[in-house]
């Protein structure tokens, strides 16, 4: 469904802990890892538009069993009549590529993992653009994922069920709320018929806010 021709290596190197420019050896290794990763992954995504119902105990996605709870998602979806639920994955091949790279060379493992993280973000961006292009009558919010702010990770199971994601793209959730294959993302995009303020995703919604190495230095991850 989605093809990636390249991965944002700069971003990946940042994820891997590089600051400033990488030396030639690391850059060359990153390029090799990027090629290998691109040759094995099959990115996929699935989405569905649900009408929303704002209830006392949360926001219901009508026609499914999913109830979105917490103040942050309520603020995020304020003014929205519908929401896109979507889930994207790089597939198990990415997990395998990271394991293989690690067994061969730990640096390659670290870089492959970081490249895969960058790649799934790119897949999400492309998927979002594709989905929203099919919904020209709506104004959209940014992507909000379970685990951001006070939207609990524990609803990943019902989120995936609302998309039949296991059957359609092979994504499961572990007991600890971890999406598997590992490089998978679930997200919610609010839709409104009227223009809405499209807030930027900020640090407040991030669960790494207190430990973020970028913030410690007064910077941001994006």
């Amino acid at each position: 469904m989605i093809r990636l021709d390249s991965i944002d290596r700069r971003q990946a190197l940042r994820y891997a802990g590089m600051r400033g420019d990488a030396d030639t050896a690391i850059s060359a290794l990153a390029e090799t890892c990027e090629k290998r990763l691109l040759s094995v992954i099959s990115p996929r995504y699935i989405h569905r538009v649900y009408p929303l119902e704002f209830c006392e105990n949360g926001i219901a996605c009508k026609g499914s069993h999913l109830l979105l709870t917490g103040a942050d998602i309520a603020a995020h979806l304020q003014g929205c009549s519908h929401a896109v639920l979507f889930c994207a994955t790089l597939s198990q091949a990415a997990d395998r590529a990271v394991r293989m790279a690690q067994a061969e060379d730990l640096t390659a493992g670290l870089l492959t993992d970081a490249l895969a993280s960058a790649a799934i973000e790119q897949v999400c961006d492309l998927a979002e653009a594709e989905i929203l292009a099919g919904l020209p009558d709506f104004h959209a919010t940014w992507r909000f994922s379970p685990g951001y702010g006070d939207l609990p990770l524990s609803l990943q199971g019902e989120f995936l069920d609302a998309l039949d994601a296991q059957r359609k793209i092979g994504v499961c959730v572990s007991d600890s709320g971890l999406l598997l294959p590992r490089k998978s993302v679930t997200a919610i995009i609010g839709l409104s018929e009227k223009p809405i303020e499209r807030h930027r995703k900020g640090c407040a919604a991030c669960n790494l806010m207190n430990t973020c190495p970028y913030r410690a230095k007064g910077a941001h991850c994006k």
Partner: protein
């Protein structure tokens, strides 16, 4: 009425979509359809009935997700749900329709990508099979993971007595989500003895044509086709094919020889009626298929249609360093041996992890799981112990080779039944209680005996590979040609594939490589299919590649040119007088670091190399990392280069019988529920670099296992890693257990979501902000 009788009488018609009918009846997305067996039995029965009226010979029970994990929150047991579902199907079925116990995927991923263990998966399926004893057959459908299917099929074989059907879901690239190939599915499942295999879901009937075509080439079993009603509309999720179009789509499948049909998502009784109508004017096509000799992992099939290389290096015989790795359960060492051989050109890897005083069965399982986690090449399980063999066969994902059986009665009667049960290929050694016959004739006779016994058990001729045994030329020079004559006869007269370990030939002679390579070439010309060699020796792998070219297997020399086409003559080794071991480590140059260490070892004691070269280089890298001059990838590169230097030293110490010196033991683990292990692995390498003995328990580690291991080894320090907020409770629990069982043991913790404050709150002694921090802590705790 049973499946076979029905199949003899023509096509077999399954039912169509259950979920589709339930959603049309108002079931919400994410609802639990299995509960309708209790709340709306009349609805379920009426759906079955409409399918039967439309022509279904078999209906699937409404139990797709009826396993203990998915049903946990319903308050009903698996037994209750499955019994109710079977009753509903029976109520509709009457005499003529069969009831199939429907079993879908568990909904959790198996190790190594997920955390579900093979044995747990087996037990989940066992419960379903036992609850479904009143069904007429078992159907595993919509499967994407071959290992999960194997767990289910073994459970059905061992705990049930009904025919087994399996359908998997393939994408347009001919693979499932987990990468499983069509050929691998067919080879593995036909080997396990299921009754019919096929495809369901994922694609519409038109897209499935090439997939079913491929499947028909790889199996002699009846083939099942149960497609969706076309591809779903991306916006509405609805499937687009009208019944007539769906029905017409059955024609090409029937023409290729598929005999069992049905519908999946989006299909209704009208679709089934249309399909039945289409098939009513056709006759089943008798397929004549000859499935080639082949072995596989889930993701790669290796056809033995030209010489293929079996890598022999995963074997402790004569290797002290390897033995040490086995005693220490050092799986990483074995994985490294696997990766290197695959990169050098091995098509299959032999796995021998036998050593007195270790639990070989456990080691075989650990090794097979770990190797299959990082490479696709099929494996050859090499052991003399039946329990270790079965342990490996049970969890092997695909169709392996068993190495080996021989002509002795005891061997034949213990090994061959295991080969048959697990659907493996087998190496037959031409020896028996009288030893290795001197003559080609004697070995040929034993080969024949092994083949006859295998055939009598139902093992295919294509799955028996004969090893005519290499004797040492220096001791039995006249025996060399006997081996080769026996090999040629086995190949030509019995029509079997041949396998041969060639390295022995040169034992005791000078220039062993020359002798071995020449013998290899002779054996290939005599008909050798599976040379067992050290693929890391370029001249050996090269000889096989050249032979494939010269014998006209490698058409247009494509493979040969791909390997050697860009090769420039090796330049004389550049004088690297300016490169020191310290420089090599700082620059992250692994092979240079290893070479320089080997050179230094000729003149310098090992410990001096460690203290004067390695540790200072690592300290320098660590200091630069802390100062922000060097970053994580560079620090790890340096650490990995140091690791390769240490490996040279360790091997040397091992060979000389010296005790390796350890600074102290550290137990490390990624906590229960968490599978992020890169951070933990980085810490491991750095700690090992500083001479600590690291016991790495891996990821998703039970809290008790950490405490137990720390106590067992009297470890002064334990390191725990967690990357998710949801797994911090298991970190806290692990700390509690470690403190209870070893009050003096210190605990350090690390991971993205941790802070120093939080570490203190959950009872850890130290918070390691990064891998360098972990080493500093170890140095302060263990002096």
């Amino acid at each position: 009425m049973n499946v076979n009788t029905l199949l003899e009488s023509g096509f077999l018609m399954l039912d169509g979509g259950m979920g589709t009918m339930l959603q049309a009846g108002g079931l919400e997305m994410g609802g639990i359809p299995e509960m309708l067996n209790f709340t709306h039995p009349e609805l379920i029965q009426s759906i079955h009935r409409t399918y039967i009226d439309a022509g279904s010979d078999v209906v699937y029970t409404n139990t797709f997700g009826a396993n203990r994990l998915k049903m946990a929150k319903t308050g009903k047991s698996v037994q209750e749900i499955i019994s109710a579902a079977i009753q509903n199907a029976r109520a509709a079925a009457g005499e003529k329709t069969l009831v199939a116990l429907d079993i879908g995927p568990i909904g959790q991923l198996l190790e190594p990508t997920g955390t579900l263990k093979f044995e747990e998966a087996y037990d989940i399926f066992r419960e379903q099979i036992e609850a479904g004893k009143d069904a007429d057959l078992y159907i595993f459908e919509t499967m994407t993971d071959l290992l999960e299917v194997r767990a289910g099929v073994l459970a059905a074989k061992e705990c049930g007595d009904k025919p087994i059907f399996v359908t998997m879901s393939f994408e347009e690239n001919g693979r499932t989500f987990t990468g499983c190939e069509i050929s691998a599915m067919a080879l593995t499942l036909e080997g396990l003895g299921v009754d019919a295999i096929g495809v369901n879901c994922s694609l519409g009937p038109e897209e499935l044509v090439p997939i079913v075509q491929e499947l028909c080439r790889w199996t002699t079993l009846p083939v099942i086709v149960k497609p969706n009603a076309g591809l779903p509309d991306p916006v509405t999720g609805r499937h687009e094919f009208a019944p007539e179009r769906f029905g017409a789509c059955m024609k090409p499948f029937a023409e290729m020889g598929a005999v069992i049909f049905g519908g999946c998502c989006g299909t209704t009784p009208d679709h089934i009626r249309a399909a039945a109508q289409q098939l009513s004017v056709m006759q089943p096509v008798k397929r004549s298929v000859s499935v080639p000799a082949a072995v596989c992992s889930a993701n790669r099939t290796v056809v033995i249609d030209m010489p293929k290389i079996i890598g022999e290096r995963i074997n402790p015989t004569g290797k002290k360093r390897f033995k040490q790795a086995l005693v220490e359960h050092d799986i990483d060492y074995i994985l490294n041996q696997a990766i290197v051989q695959v990169q050098a050109g091995a098509d299959i890897l032999d796995v021998n992890v036998g050593l007195p005083d270790i639990d070989e069965a456990e080691m075989m399982q650990s090794a097979v799981k770990a190797i299959q986690g990082i490479t696709d090449v099929p494996l050859q399980l090499d052991t003399t112990k039946p329990d270790a063999l079965e342990a490996g066969l049970r969890i092997y994902n695909g169709k392996p080779i068993v190495n080996s059986v021989n002509g002795e009665e005891e061997s034949l009667s213990t090994v061959l039944p295991l080969v048959k049960k697990y659907g493996a290929a087998v190496v037959g050694l031409t020896l028996d209680k009288n030893g290795i016959p001197k003559t080609a004739e004697g070995r040929f006779e034993i080969a024949k005996r092994i083949l006859d016994r295998a055939l009598a058990l139902g093992i295919r001729r294509e799955d028996v590979y004969i090893d005519c045994l290499t004797l040492t030329a220096s001791a039995e020079q006249e025996g060399v040609t006997e081996t080769l004559s026996a090999l040629t006869r086995v190949k030509q007269e019995l029509g079997l594939r041949t396998v041969l370990g060639v390295s022995n030939i040169s034992f005791g002679l000078p220039n062993r490589e020359l002798v071995t390579r020449t013998f290899l070439t002779m054996a290939l010309h005599a008909g050798l299919d599976l040379p067992i060699i050290n693929p890391n020796t370029e001249s050996m792998t090269g000889a096989v590649r050249a032979y494939r070219l010269l014998a006209n297997f490698d058409k247009n020399a494509v493979d040969f040119i791909a390997h050697y086409g860009n090769e420039t003559p090796a330049a004389p080794a550049a004088a690297k007088t300016d490169m020191t071991l310290g420089n090599a480590i700082s620059a992250g140059l692994k092979s240079e670091a290893a070479q320089l260490t080997a050179q230094l070892l000729e003149t310098t004691p090992a410990m001096e190399i460690v203290n004067s070269h390695l540790i200072p280089a690592l300290d320098k890298a660590g200091a630069e990392f802390e100062a922000g001059k060097l970053f994580l990838p560079q620090l790890i590169s340096a650490a990995s280069a140091a690791q390769s230097a240490f490996e040279v030293i360790r091997t040397k110490l091992c060979e000389s019988g010296a005790e390796s010196v350890s600074s102290g033991t550290v137990v490390i683990a990624t906590v229960k529920g968490d599978i992020h292990d890169i951070g933990k692995n980085i810490v491991k390498v750095l700690l090992e670099n500083y001479g600590y003995k690291v016991i790495d328990l891996g990821k998703d580690v039970d809290c008790e296992a950490v405490a137990q291991t720390a106590a067992e080894h009297g470890a002064p320090l334990v390191g725990l890693s967690a990357l998710m907020t949801t797994t911090l409770p298991s970190m806290e629990e692990t700390i509690r257990l470690v403190k209870a069982s070893c009050p003096d043991c210190k605990i350090m913790v690390g991971g993205a979501v941790l802070t120093a404050d939080y570490a203190e709150k959950i009872g850890a002694d130290f918070y390691a902000k990064d891998a360098k921090g972990a080493v500093d802590i170890a140095r302060s705790v263990i002096s």
